[in-house]
Symmetry: C2
Subunit: 206 residues, 2 copies
Amino acid sequence: MNFPSKLIEEAVTEISRLPGIGKKTALRLTLHLLKQQEPVAEALSQAILKLRKEIRYCQVCHNVSDKPVCSICEGTQRQQHIICVVEDIPDVLAIENTGQYHGLYHLLGGIISPIQGVGPENINIASLLERIDKPHLGENVEEVILALPATMEGDTTSFYITRKLKEKGIKVSTIARGIPIGSELEYTDEVTLGRSILTRVNYSAE
Amino acid sequence: MNFPSKLIEEAVTEISRLPGIGKKTALRLTLHLLKQQEPVAEALSQAILKLRKEIRYCQVCHNVSDKPVCSICEGTQRQQHIICVVEDIPDVLAIENTGQYHGLYHLLGGIISPIQGVGPENINIASLLERIDKPHLGENVEEVILALPATMEGDTTSFYITRKLKEKGIKVSTIARGIPIGSELEYTDEVTLGRSILTRVNYSAE
């Protein structure tokens, strides 16, 4: 495609680097920005620049944070004896949106993946173990919930962390896998359905 | 949605102002940018800022241009006796991509729309008429092709411009409306099909 201006070409090139945005969408967005008042484009440009330059991560849980310690780790209103281990930021947002969890988090920043050359030393596992040995502020960890992806890599990571934590006498649990609420049995894949039978919940014991 | 950082919230707000991008997509893009090296986000930010701040428009045809007169108006390799009148930049790109047109352009920057309060004086019609009265460089306009949207507003604009140009003795034509190439007759809407019969092309006369 030939562009009438270098500036448009540059904007289209940069915008189309974003995931899920092709050249056509990038051009549509570029022409939209051209039609806007200058402050609109300026605000967008500034937000992107500040995001990448000024972002800080919590020293304790590795979540993004405006302060050295994030509001969840700092807050005394959260349960101090449970840590939920997740892969990255979107998982924290998803769990927080449920409103069902009131404990702390720990973000690994990735999962063990031998194919991609990611080993246990490349993700935040050491700091998780250290957090249990030398608790931060009011922390008094009794249980670690593993909320990692239900994939081979996720299971490998869960297995590795479980082994490390059991040495320290910490209770380790994982979020339940099973049939999503609202789903029909007949449309559920066989692996999920099979596992949900194996890990059935005993009603009579409750 | 609660965000763990003000910076993320700002970025999501600004990105989701773009057309067709909701909060969820904006969050996905924001987290993607966070994962990238700093120069990637910086380049995007700069491209957007420069686009809006440094963009210039051609004095003759109102297309975007890096110079006071764009490469199409300036170029002697274009036919100097035809002007194609379009609504805006994407239309020029679309026509240029066909490779079938070698004349000049004139961008109205909008179309007449009484409902939205856009009158003939709000779009670049005066400069089109002036361009015919006082030709720029080698221009010697004999024909104006109207390539405006096939809508009520487009037709109104075409009608207005046609009347103004006929006073000046300029030949006015409009791009053909009809059945798109590759389309089946039975799936074409009745207005298009009806018009394509009325404006049929006489083979025996060619």
